[in-house]
Amino acid sequence: MKYFSVEYISIFAGFILLLIGLWGIISQKNILKIIISFSIIDTSIHLILVSVGYIKNRTAPIIDGPVTRADAAQQVTDPVPQALVLTAIVIGVGITALMLSYALKLYEKNKSLEIDKYKSLKW
């Protein structure tokens, strides 16, 4: 039954999304689809990391109102994974923007979004 609590559900979902995203990256031919798959992977990783830091029946690591300063350590979840994910999300958006602009440039040069068409470099 414990597998139906929110952290398990989210971590399972995270891993499944991760696999779907990876599958998308290696099976889809369209560059933009690949980038979308990448953003799915990104989201899934964030999901996994946040669930890893979750502690049952605890609340957000922000001290106000119901959470008191004195026994914060007994009431809040782990702030570190959240901090990491925060960083990772921002990095992710940077990379996504970069990928998209690369895709745009490629399209501009070759008028195609099929990744198979960019094989001039090889061997």
Binding site: I40, H46, V50, V76
Partner: protein, 74 residues
Amino acid sequence: MALIMIVMAFIAIYHKSLQVAVIASGIISLFASVIYIFLAAPDVAITEASIGSALTVVIFFYVLNKIRRIDDKK
């Protein structure tokens, strides 16, 4: 909700239309951020909603727009 996310992921990967795929990935982020609320991570939820969901989709559509422009010119 998790199920919806997974369904969305499949849509994002397999739908023919790019716009729909992008929107689907936006919805994945959206649901992820609702889950973050469940997971007691409002900071992450805000970030995911604002950056992961909204801004990424916006950037995607700007790029799609430019791609269409290139097509038009051709």
